[in-house]
């Protein structure tokens, strides 16, 4: 008896197509990035990377990511807790609202923030009278980055916490544990892998975000230029090696992220097999 897709011809065709496509669309560009970045030798690559403006862009990008992660972490955990542990009117609506940042184009998100918080915007005008500037400065970049990345942690946690249910927490409370103890000793250990996974995704997106940031940052070199924006500017200035050096850095971060994610998944699978 043959199962569907068992015919050798079909199998080989499918495998070839998969290998070919992933090679062409995924692997080759990745190799090209590094090839281009190092096309004029390591020293040129290095001088591009250690350029003041590039270093500043790297610093700003990392700072934004570092600030985004804790905000998204707290927001995501609180939201997942709310949605999975309580029943209230509008719960389903809230669950749908979480996805808005995924559904909306980042550029649109950037524009909305500009409209609201820009100097001529509704809230921005009022803030301006107190000399507070959000747009075309790092706080604006942080705001849109948080907007774009905030669903990741909650999205990871909600299905897991729904599946796990609240029985263990109830058990902890009947045994006399306080709310914080219950969270720290029962809830957190049960969701830690999903949490870490959510952080990895949040970080990847925060570092790589282009659309929303490009609208609100103003891309002032050495001031509000993040790494993806800097890359684009270098490319517009016909500095291909510089652009690809930045691209290589971003790709490297992406690869590290993927490696961390794969590592976590492998661990989770091992834990499952062990349990």
């Amino acid at each position: 008896m043959q199962r569907i897709g068992d015919a050798p011809l079909v199998r080989r065709l499918l495998i070839t197509a998969a290998v070919l496509l992933s090679g062409l669309f995924l692997l080759l560009p990745l190799v090209a990035i590094f090839a281009q970045a190092f096309s004029q030798g390591v020293s040129v690559f290095w001088s591009n990377v250690s350029d003041y403006y590039t270093l500043h862009a790297i610093g700003l990008t990392l700072m934004i990511a570092l600030l985004t992660i804790p905000v998204c972490l707290v927001f995501g955990v609180a939201l997942a807790w709310l949605v999975t542990r309580f029943d209230f009117p509008g719960r389903r609506l809230l669950q749908t609202l979480i996805d808005i940042p995924f559904a909306v184009s980042p550029v649109v998100a950037g524009l909305i923030y500009l409209l609201l918080y820009g100097r001529n915007g509704w809230i921005g005008g009022w803030l301006d009278s107190y000399d507070i500037q959000l747009m075309f400065a790092w706080p604006g970049i942080l705001m849109v980055t948080i907007f774009v990345t905030c669903p990741f942690v909650a999205r990871e946690l909600i299905p897991l916490m729904q599946a796990q249910g609240s029985r263990e927490e109830e058990a902890a409370v009947t045994l006399g544990a306080s709310g914080w103890t219950t969270f720290r000793r029962v809830t957190l250990p049960n969701i830690r892998w999903a949490l870490l996974y959510g952080i990895i995704l949040t970080n990847a997106r925060a570092v790589g975000e282009f659309g929303a940031v490009s609208v609100v940052s103003g891309a002032i070199r050495g001031q509000t230029n993040t790494l993806p924006l800097h890359l684009e500017q270098l490319y517009q200035d016909y500095n291909a090696v510089g652009a690809f050096a930045c691209a290589a850095l971003l790709a490297l971060i992406a690869l590290l992220t993927l490696a961390a994610k794969a590592g976590l998944e492998w661990r989770a699978a091992r834990r499952e097999a062990f349990a």
Binding site: A171, V173, G176, P189
Partner: protein, 364 residues
């Protein structure tokens, strides 16, 4: 510690999960809450625990543990032990840490020293016969072992009230039997007050000092297992406590007629429904002057101490079940497809009027 519930009601949205209920449970008693799913028994248990709040109506209900009013006391301060249906063990903690949890979360002032905790945990593990499993994780244990860990965990904080939600529901018959006996033993030894929820009438009757039978958010009857079985308060209780055969027909001149079947009964004329248990059905080769109930055997299953015989007839809407002793079974040489006559040894009727006590008759 005694438990007193006074006028406790609960609704979820538009559904009334519990009608106002009052219940007294004596110190040291082992009480079973028995009912079909949706009868409100688990809700009642969770309200006693404090995991659910009773409705705040015009006359709010009260919950007393002994003299102490715990109506507004948080779960964590009620000092109860709660055993969950699916154990709810902390999956990332070892058996030891699970049992120790209730002791380690005590405030520093009340917390025993680590040596004392250790001694107590091992004493509990010994009691549930799991000393050698202290370093295992819940996923590495069988269902029965997990349930024992969950009991040990609940008992670690030395509760005066132990609440168990379908404690043996997910276990196979043999383990369930064993754990039941073991729980009964433990209860008698440690002398706490226990309330457990079950949908299994056998479990409730076997384990409880008293059984609270519930349906649709109401208490139908509270009695000892023996009294419950012998004198059910109403039709629901009678039907829920075991298999029931129905005989429905018109009574005319003290004879109940149903198709080509008839039975002599001492009842006034009118429509009647008689109920009888499988062991109250006698089978013979010939009809008698008292009864003429022709039936055909459709299935025979020799289970345990008795043989269960399924009977069908044109005049029956639902097949009857009769239990026959093995000796009688051999004597009668029963076979599938055989035609026989059924005779009620004893029957009951529950007239519609609720207040009226059920009537029972022995047939000569």
């Amino acid at each position: 510690m005694s438990i007193r519930l006074d006028n406790i009601a609960k609704h979820f949205g538009n559904t009334q999960a519990l009608e106002p209920i009052s219940l007294d449970i004596n110190e040291g008693e082992l009480v079973g809450l028995l009912g079909p799913s949706g009868s409100g028994k688990t809700t009642l248990l969770r309200i006693i625990a404090g995991l659910e709040n009773a409705d705040r109506t015009a006359q709010p209900g009260k919950i007393l543990f002994g003299e102490r009013d715990v109506t507004h006391v948080h779960v964590r301060d009620r000092r109860i032990g709660f055993v969950f249906q699916n154990y709810a063990l902390f999956r990332h903690m070892s058996v030891y840490d699970n049992v120790a949890f209730g002791l380690t979360v005590l405030s520093r002032k009340h917390r025993p020293s680590s040596g004392e905790i250790r001694a107590r945990v091992y004493r509990l593990l010994e009691m549930v016969k799991l000393e050698s499993f202290a370093n295992r994780y819940p996923a590495q244990l069988s269902g029965g072992q997990q349930q024992r860990v969950s009991l040990a965990r609940a008992l670690a904080v030395e509760p005066e009230v132990l609440l168990l939600d379908e404690p043996f529901g997910a276990l196979d018959a043999k383990v369930r039997q064993e754990l039941r006996r073991w729980l009964r033993h433990l209860h008698d030894e440690l002398n706490f007050t226990s309330v457990f929820v079950t949908h299994d009438q056998e479990e409730a009757l076997e384990l409880s000092d008293r059984v609270v039978v519930m349906s649709n958010g109401r208490i139908e009857q509270i009695d000892t297992p023996d009294a419950l079985y012998r004198s059910p308060a109403n039709r629901f209780v009678f039907e829920f406590l075991g298999d029931v055969n129905h005989l429905e027909g018109k009574v005319n001149n003290a004879v109940l007629t149903c198709g080509d079947a008839h039975l002599h009964v001492d009842l006034p004329d009118g429509h009647e429904e008689l109920l009888l248990r499988p062991h109250e059905v006698r089978l013979t080769q010939a009809p008698t002057a008292e009864s003429h109930l022709p039936v055909t055997i459709t299935a025979i299953s020799p289970v345990g101490a008795e043989v269960r015989v399924e009977l069908e007839a044109d005049w029956l809407a639902q097949p009857w079940l009769a239990t026959v002793r093995h000796t009688d079974f051999e004597h009668l040489e029963l076979q599938r497809g055989q035609r026989l006559y059924a005779h009620p040894r004893h029957w009951r009727r529950f007239p519609e009027s609720v207040s009226k006590a059920p009537e029972q008759r022995h047939v000569a």
